[in-house]
């Protein structure tokens, strides 16, 4: 039997990888994928807790998270396309008209 710590550990590592990705990658789409990775990492935590406690709430929440992630992807990709149209770039380091 694998203890819950392992699930939590994997999920935490994935989450941190996602965070580091957001901090370091330059392409807007990859950053967005890293965010999705963070959400999925949390899903692992939720499912793990849910299954170890024998409580169904956590699993239900995972469905909501998936829904929200899909909706977010929709809007997010639309915004990235709009940016691409205006700037001809998806490099977020070059998108800095608004500052100071």
């Amino acid at each position: 039997m694998i203890g819950i710590e392992w699930y939590l550990g994997v999920s935490a590592v994935l989450f941190i990888i996602g965070v580091i990705g957001v901090l370091t990658r330059g392409n807007a789409i990859i950053i967005f994928m890293c965010v999705e990775l963070m959400l999925s990492a949390v899903n692992i935590t939720l499912v793990a807790f849910s299954s170890f406690m024998g409580d169904v709430h956590g699993m239900i929440l995972v469905f909501f998270v998936l829904c929200v992630a899909a909706a977010e992807a929709c809007v997010g990709l639309a915004i990235i396309i709009a940016i691409f149209r205006n700037n001809i770039t998806a490099d977020i380091n070059k998108i800095n008209l608004l500052r100071w």
Partner: protein, 669 residues
């Protein structure tokens, strides 16, 4: 009758609304100047009548009456209501505010007749009266604070009334910053009080003074006093007041002499029972008051602008009042507030009348087609105005007698009582300091009489000097004229009050020494005894009489000296003296403060140098520099911080992560 106290506060507000809305919305209304002025004046005069009615319905032993209108803020354990308090102290203040206020409104109808923004001016004045009445009649610290802020706002509005862009923003900035410092201290004091007592009602606070620890009492007292130094122009926050003279003269008379600047004295008198618990705070009040009194008096001697002289004189007199407060003479301070309101308002209005006349001269000369320009507030162009403006002259002279402390005039009694209390405080703790302060106060009294007679004599006696001093102004004296009756009537009323006002507080010992009865002739003392915590006078009759004798001697000596130096009715000889005086002035024209040779009085020399070199530089360099430095530092950090905002999302995410670590460590550890 006291239940109608809310009307006193409401009517000026209605006046403000009528003139404000009328003036804003209708071009035609703005032209109805008589109507506007009448509405404004009446909406201050009626409250005066109501206050008078309430006053006559009260006795010295009447219980305080609190008119609770409605609950203003209510949130759980905290509540605050709009309630007005009628007691012996607040009704005196209300009478002064509305009475002197009504007279000044009447005066302004004449003074501001040709002004563009006539309606705006009167609307502001009424708003000021409304705020001031909230300050003095409010039953809790919040209402008092609202009034406190309100009078500040009105004061800024009116200071900037006649100004061009640059100077307006500068004067406003100065007044703004200095008052903010004071307001901040006051707010902290309020919070401390609330924390200790759980309420901001005067009754509850003053009945629960035992809830304060000695340290808290001390700090509340000191912080409140710092608040008062801002509003009442004391060291180190006094420098805004002389600048504030830029406003129209009635404003100077009403706000910067008679009412607003005395609100600090009212505040401390209101909390007198708290102040007597902390002698250290009292000492601080006394020292600051005494220092301010003498510093301002020495500066006043060097000024030529007649309003500046009066402004520094006001600062000096306010210092006197704080000295009285610090010495335990709360009633003496209030007494001086009242008499000062009479004579200083009269002096300011008189100076306004003079300035009005000088303006008229300038205007008429221009009409003749002559291109003549001079400063209508500079007393060096005046002289001999006595002949042309008899009403102004006589009332000005009476008020000068009063402020100089010549016997039987009002200032004599109030100033004498202050000196007695300072001396009396010397009998208790911190003896030497109080005696030193007494010495300074006597010196200040001397200087006061001296510079006031200098002002009066230079302005009104001798000959009119404009024609000889300004090219093209020959024969201009034919344009000098007395001001209209709307201006002279208030002058006479205030002048009369300045003469007789002192009889409300004739010291008891004037009679008891001779009759050995226990008769109480000091009406004001009996009236305010229940609401303030005056120290007891421990002086013997002999000492008291000696103090009175000293005060009289000082006043008379200063008067004679000033008369010898400044009265010009001695023909050619005094003209030559004048020329000599101005000759030396021309040499230091570029450095206008270097006029020490003019004043031959040997006592003045050392203090004058102090005021000229050190204090003027202190004011200009250090204080202004400090203000600019603080503002600059904040802006500097602002400009640094803004560059963290790089515009790159990843920086933002990085800061976010730093925040996450911060919150995690705060929560977990």
């Amino acid at each position: 009758m006291a239940e109608y106290v809310w009307l006193i506060v409401l009517i000026p507000l209605i006046g403000f609304l009528i003139n404000g809305i009328g003036g804003l919305s209708s071009e035609a209304y703005r032209k109805q100047k008589t109507l506007i002025g009448t509405i404004a004046t009446i909406s201050v005069f009626i409250p005066f009548l109501i206050a008078l009615q309430i006053f006559f319905g009260m006795g010295a032993d009447s219980e305080p009456y609190v008119a609770r209108l409605f609950t203003w803020i209510e949130a759980g354990s905290f509540s605050s209501e709009v309630a007005y308090r009628v007691d012996q102290l607040s009704i005196i203040m209300a009478l002064v505010v509305t009475g002197v206020g009504a007279l000044i409104h009447l005066y302004s109808m004449g003074y501001m007749k040709d002004d563009e923004g006539y309606w705006k001016f009167f609307a502001y004045l009424n708003l000021f009266i409304f705020a001031m009445l909230n300050l003095v009649l409010g039953n809790n610290l919040i209402l008092l604070f609202l009034g406190w802020e309100g009078v500040g706002v009105c004061s800024y509005l009116l200071i900037g009334y006649w100004y061009g862009d640059m100077a307006k923003s500068d004067a406003a900035k100065k007044a703004f910053v200095f008052n903010r410092v004071g307001d901040f201290a006051f707010l902290v004091a309020m919070f401390l009080v609330f924390r200790a007592v759980g309420s901001l009602d005067f009754d509850i606070i003053l009945n629960n003074l035992s809830a304060f620890t000695p340290e808290i009492t001390f700090w509340v007292a000191v912080l409140m006093f710092i608040g008062a130094t801002g509003k009442s122009a004391q060291i180190p926050l006094f420098v805004w007041l002389p600048d504030a003279m830029a406003g129209p003269t009635p404003v100077s008379a009403l706000i910067h002499a008679a009412t607003m600047v005395t609100s600090g004295i009212y505040l401390i008198s209101r909390f007198s029972s708290m102040y007597v618990l902390t002698p250290e705070a009292m000492l601080i009040v006394a020292i600051i008051g005494g220092l301010t009194a003498i510093v301002a008096a020495t500066i006043a001697i060097t000024q030529y602008d007649i309003k500046k002289v009066l402004a520094y004189s006001t600062v000096s007199q306010l210092g006197f009042m704080f000295l009285a407060l610090g010495s335990g003479g709360f009633i003496a301070a209030m007494f001086h507030v009242v008499t000062h309101a009479f004579f200083k308002a009269c002096l300011f209005l008189g100076s306004g009348s003079v300035i009005h006349a000088m303006h008229h001269v300038e205007h008429e000369l221009e009409h003749e087609g002559k291109d003549v320009h001079f400063d209508p507030q500079d007393m060096r162009y005046m002289g001999g105005l006595k002949k042309y403006m008899p009403s102004t002259y006589w009332t000005f002279l009476l008020s000068t007698f009063a402020i100089a402390g010549i016997p039987v005039f009002s200032g004599f009694f109030s100033k004498d009582e202050i000196l007695a209390f300072v001396f009396n405080a010397g009998m208790g703790e911190y003896s030497y300091i109080y005696f030193a302060l007494w010495g300074m106060a006597v010196l200040t009294a001397f200087l006061t009489a001296y510079y006031m007679f200098r002002l009066t004599l230079t302005t009104f006696h001798g000959t009119f000097k404009l024609p000889s001093k300004v090219k093209g102004a020959e024969d201009s004296e034919k344009y000098l004229h007395e001001s209209p009756s709307t201006m002279t009537i208030p002058l006479w009323i205030l002048g009369g009050l300045a003469v007789i006002g002192g009889f409300m507080g004739v010291p008891d010992f004037f009679v008891t020494t001779f009759t050995s009865s226990d008769i109480k002739i000091n009406w004001l003392h009996a009236w305010l005894d229940g609401v303030t915590s005056d120290s007891a006078l421990v002086l013997s009759y002999g000492t008291k009489w000696i103090l009175v004798a000293i005060a009289i001697l000082i006043a008379v000596f200063a008067t004679v000296l000033a008369y010898r130096n400044y009265d010009n009715d001695k023909g050619e000889a005094s003209d030559a003296a004048l020329e000599k005086r101005f000759g030396s002035l021309y040499q230091v024209w570029s450095d206008k403060y270097k006029i020490d040779e003019i004043y031959d009085a040997s006592i003045i020399q050392p203090t004058f140098k102090l005021s000229d070199r050190v204090l003027a530089v202190f004011d200009m360099k250090i204080v202004d520099g400090f203000v600019n430095a603080v503002g600059g530092t904040v802006r500097f950090f602002g400009s640094l911080l803004r560059f963290v905002q790089t515009g790159v999302v990843q920086t933002y995410a990085l800061v976010f992560i730093i925040g996450v670590i911060l919150v995690l460590s705060l929560i977990i550890f």
